[in-house]
């Protein structure tokens, strides 16, 4: 454990892009392994970043100034959807090119269908050097399941400021269960309380002392996972850049998957972004409470939204650092760079964050930017796209065949094919469902032909009521205000039949 801020810490926390951009100090020649046929592939996922909250896509708050600027050299997808409303299904779709009803990754404890341990992006790019990292425990579970398909999975704790006492020191042979119990017994003070009445206080005091030196830089607290596993987002950025700079000088092209926690909650932004949007006059649209409302008031939601928006600034800043370093070091010249998220976040209808059943736009529409080698102009794509489309697109750009089991298609503009008006995209939330058999309880979504249909069934909060269907003319009503399910029964029934058929699959 470090006792004081090192010079390196100071430099990176000072938030200068120059520090990272100059790593290493001399400009390097472009990688000799990657080529136009086999470019490096670098995927950057910022967890829980909603397209509806990024200024790039028109959000009134300027949450993504770097992305706005960098988009001038990217292909920007405006109607891009995640495969699910939280990390496990969303990331599984991203990495397998399949929807949740195929990869069966409804919840992390069950994992994905074992077939996808070898049917995934890492296996398909087996001539590449494949490296991945994530802060997120749920995403890490998934990557661990795919570990045999990659060259290196960086242990997530390597980039934490502290390590788990229970799992690392005492019970390494039973890490998952010991750690879960340790969190619940000692660490996880909060909504659920701890089992420990005294240890937890001392443990927290110990942690507070450890973290106090960062209080000026992170006034709302250090980013963390479940009130433990504190980390500096800047550390992950720096490690990523060091690895990329080093690996791109080797003999193989690189496939890197980097999945950072910000702006996932807790929303603990850095001092230079804290209160940026306080009293900015922005008033989110008022929407009536949903059947899945958690009873959050408009003012509570507005406050949490501001915390989140200010944390988005940090994620955007860190990606800006990465991009500028890649550019300075000429890695962009032979790399495909992807910026996206695994799911969004939501602050409306009495609901906050993404731990819920709904599939409204803020929690399911995510940003997607693809930077191709040497791209200098912006392209905007407004046709429907899904997370499952990313893998076939990368295979296409890498000159590889696309296997039959992939459900996505090559993203428009890269395929050269004209937009398909019958194209549909889907999303699934079924964390309480059994892994196999009927998906129930379930939330399903289909977007097609200008309409978006939600279907909810079997959830505890529905209190035994029958399925709930919502239909929106999503292009005219992106805020999903006017439910047309009763007014347009033909559209409703056609979309419902299609998504149910798919889910039955």
């Amino acid at each position: 454990m470090r006792n004081q801020l090192s010079r390196r810490d100071f430099l990176k926390l000072a938030g200068t892009t120059a520090a990272a951009a100059s790593l290493p100090a001399l400009r390097m020649p472009p990688s000799h392994a990657a080529s136009p046929d086999m470019p490096n592939i670098l995927i950057f996922v910022y967890d829980a970043l909603s397209a509806m909250h990024t200024s790039l896509y028109g959000y009134p708050r300027n949450t993504t100034p770097n992305l706005n600027r960098l988009a001038a050299r990217a292909t920007v997808f405006h109607q891009h959807y995640a495969g699910g409303n939280y990390t496990f299904p969303g990331t599984s779709s991203l990495l397998t090119g399949t929807y949740p009803w195929t990869h069966r990754g409804f919840k992390p404890d069950n994992g994905i269908d074992p077939a996808f341990e070898t049917q995934n992006i890492f296996q398909l790019f087996n001539q590449y050097y494949r490296l991945s990292y994530t802060h997120n425990a749920v995403a890490f579970n998934l990557l661990k399941q795919m570990q045999d398909s990659m060259d290196r999975l960086k242990p997530r704790q390597d980039l934490y400021l502290d390590r788990d006492f229970a799992s690392d020191l005492l019970f390494a042979n039973d890490e998952d269960t010991a750690t879960t119990s340790w969190w619940q017994s000692i660490v996880k003070k909060g909504r659920k309380g701890t089992y420990s009445l005294f240890f937890s206080h001392f443990y927290r005091a110990y942690k507070q002392r450890l973290l106090a030196r960062y209080a000026d830089i992170y006034p709302r607290g250090l980013p963390n996972i479940r009130d433990d596993n504190f980390f500096l987002p800047e550390d992950a950025t720096d490690w990523t850049l060091e690895e990329i700079l080093s690996l791109t000088q080797q003999d193989q092209p690189v496939l890197g998957y980097f999945h950072y926690l910000p702006p996932h909650d807790p929303y603990l932004t850095r001092a230079d972004f804290a209160d940026k949007f306080q009293d900015d006059g922005f008033e989110p649209l008022k929407k009536p409470d949903h059947i899945f409302s958690r009873g959050r008031t408009y003012h509570e939601l507005a406050f949490t939204r501001r915390m989140y928006d200010e944390y988005c600034l940090l994620a955007d800043h860190e990606f800006g650092r990465i991009f500028e370093s890649l550019e300075t070091n000429r890695i962009l010249e032979n790399s495909v760079v992807v910026f996206t998220s695994d799911h969004g976040e939501m602050f409306e209808r009495g609901i906050e964050k993404h731990y819920h059943e709904t599939l409204h736009q803020p929690v399911i529409q995510v940003p997607l930017l693809v930077f191709t080698p040497g791209q200098t102009t912006r392209q905007d794509v407004h046709t429907l796209t899904s997370a499952v489309d990313l893998l076939p697109t990368l295979l296409h750009l890498g000159g590889q065949a696309i296997p039959d089991w992939i459900e996505g298609r090559v993203l428009p503009t890269f395929s050269g094919a004209p937009p398909n008006p019958d194209q549909a995209v889907y999303a699934v939330e079924a964390k309480d469902s059994q892994q196999y058999g009927k998906i129930f309880p379930a939330s399903l979504m289909i977007v097609k032909g200008g309409y978006k249909l939600h279907y909810y069934t079997g959830w505890e909060r529905m209190k035994g009521a029958g399925p709930l269907v919502e239909l929106y003319a999503i292009e005219d009503d992106p805020e999903e205000i006017n439910n047309l399910a009763n007014e347009l029964p033909e559209v409703r029934d056609a979309l419902l039949a299609e998504v149910l058929e798919k889910a039955k699959g």
């Binding site: 919840k107 039973d174 119990s181 309380g193 009445l197």
Partner: protein
């Protein structure tokens, strides 16, 4: 009461340990009853048993440390107090500390969301010295009144003593659960049967 200046025997220390263990185990078991289904649904029953085993193990460790702390406190008690009174005061200390801690947990569980937002909006409230002093003052106050009553009322001492004796029997059962938990932990770690 004729046991003035009598020293605690091993049995007395063990009784004190059982008394210290009681509220800690009671709270842990209540929380486990709340959570174990949730864990079992998301994992397996064997994992849920393992989860409970670790929780009980951590509670056992905490009980031992709390007893150690209470034993140290016993050195501060006036030598003129009889053994029963000293035992009662030490037991009361363990109960008061645990009681306040349980109350704090309950407040956090019920009002967590609001308190967290309030805390984020008012970071100046995060002053450990202020909260620590407040906590010590509360404990001192809640100890002072019962001690005064106990010193003047031998009947109250006898009744409380009888009550604590019954509690220790129940605590013995908790220790049996702890032992079962340790066996589960050993099986999971040594045999790798996860």
């Amino acid at each position: 009461m004729t046991d003035t200046k009598q020293k605690f025997t091993r049995a007395d220390w063990f009784k004190l340990f059982l008394i210290c263990a009681f509220p800690l185990h009671l709270w842990t078991l209540l929380m486990l009853f709340r959570d174990v289904n949730w864990v079992a649904e998301r994992t397996t029953m064997w994992d849920a048993i393992g989860f409970s085993g670790y929780a009980l193990f951590y509670t056992l460790l905490e009980s031992i440390l709390l007893t150690g702390f209470i034993v140290l406190l016993s050195l501060l008690l006036p030598q003129g107090w009889n053994k029963t009174l000293r035992m009662l005061v030490l037991s009361l200390t363990a109960f008061v500390l645990s009681g306040w801690s349980i109350l704090e947990q309950l407040i956090l569980i019920v009002f967590y969301g609001r308190l967290r937002k309030f805390g984020i909006a008012n970071p100046w409230l995060a002053n450990d010295w202020v909260w620590g002093s407040l906590f010590v003052a509360l404990i001192a106050l809640s100890m002072a009144v019962p001690i005064l009553l106990l010193r003047k009322n031998t009947k109250l001492q006898d009744n409380l003593n009888a009550f604590l004796n019954r509690l220790t029997t129940l605590s013995g059962l908790y220790l049996f659960l702890d032992a079962a938990g340790i066996v589960v932990i050993i099986i999971r770690n040594v045999t790798g049967w996860e």
